[in-house]
């Protein structure tokens, strides 16, 4: 397989790999490194690429495993510090800013979800994968994915409702 052929296969989903990695690892740099690592692994095993039924799903599974390993290892201590616990008291600003702010809130809320729910939300609501595909990628069954998804969505909505009504009640 030539480099060009490989890139043709990989290009369509490299961003998805990156976004999933970033969802799990939080810092952009870490996620970039992880993505590179995944792509290199694919490249080194390029002779086997034809055997995989779905390279994209396979890569997503690889990403998941890689990132979870990374989180477990000491390596995760190198995570860039992000303002995940910063509180905002400026609730009475202009609407646009407010919206922007609450979009950031969503990011923070998702960040605090359990890993599995994070991945499910990422794969479904952002990447828009089929439930079956997600089940395959995460080694879960269909119902478990649905339950995780439902829990994640509910907890995002609850927390958003709380922040939304913050200061009004």
């Amino acid at each position: 397989m030539t480099q060009a052929e490989f890139l043709n296969i990989v290009m369509p989903f490299k961003d998805k790999v990156f976004r999933l990695a970033k969802r799990l690892l939080v810092s952009r740099e870490e996620a970039e490194d992880a993505t590179q690592e995944i792509l290199l692994k694919l490249w080194n095993n390029k002779t086997k690429i034809g055997e995989y039924k779905n390279v994209e799903a396979f890569s997503m599974t690889m990403t998941k495993n890689f990132c979870l390993d990374k989180l477990k290892s000491k390596h995760a201590q190198n995570l860039k510090i992000v303002h995940s616990n910063y509180q905002d008291h400026n609730t009475s600003l202009q609407k646009q800013i407010e919206l922007n702010d609450s979009v950031n809130w969503v990011a923070k809320i998702i960040e605090n979800l359990p890993e599995q729910q994070k991945m499910v939300i990422q794969l479904r609501d952002i990447e828009q994968y089929d439930l079956d595909e997600i089940a395959k990628m995460l080694d879960m069954n269909n119902t478990a994915v649905r339950v995780a998804l439902s829990r994640a969505r509910k907890s995002i909505r609850e927390q958003l409702t709380n922040t939304h009504s913050y200061g009004t009640k």
Partner: protein
């Protein structure tokens, strides 16, 4: 009417039962400027999903084509070297074989004696140095007394 529909969809959405198409509908609805006030809190959620989808991986991928060294070419090179060796090597050996001869037997005899003497002289130099080995032997036998002493002392300390 539309609102009713959206509310139903939202409920399904929270139970994880919406299809991708229905979710797209929800996304479209919440990307509008004005939405029902009691659904306001959903807006950032869907906005965030759309924003996150735009993030891309910008770093390059260093795809190194690993050059795997092919060992079969070594044999080819070896064969080539051998062939060259045979081709160029032969005349040299022939030259070395032909060192010239003495015609006069007496002269030849003298030459042989001379070279044999040379050999024996240098050989004797070597044997002189080897004779030190005898001294080493006696040294070793003296050391062996030590081990005897050790066994004795073991017996005593027992």
């Amino acid at each position: 009417m539309v609102l009713n529909n959206i509310e139903k969809l939202l409920e399904k959405y929270e139970n994880g039962e919406t299809s991708l198409k229905e979710e797209q509908e929800l996304k479209n609805y919440f990307s509008q400027e004005t939405i029902a006030p009691h659904l306001e809190m959903y807006k950032p959620m869907f906005a965030y999903f759309s924003i996150s989808k735009k993030e891309t991986f910008t770093k390059g991928v260093p795809l190194k084509t690993r050059k795997i060294f092919d060992y079969k070419w070594i044999s080819v090179a070896a064969v080539a070297v051998l062939m060259l060796g045979f081709y160029f090597g032969k005349p040299m050996f022939q030259q070395e074989d032909d060192l010239g001869t003495y015609d006069d037997p007496m002269m030849a005899y003298n030459e042989v004696v001379k070279s044999l003497e040379l050999i024996s002289n240098s050989l004797n130099k070597g044997t002189g140095k080897i004779s030190y080995l005898d001294q080493l032997d006696s040294g070793i036998s003296k050391i062996s007394y030590l081990s005897e002493m050790e066994t004795k002392s073991k017996i005593i300390f027992k």
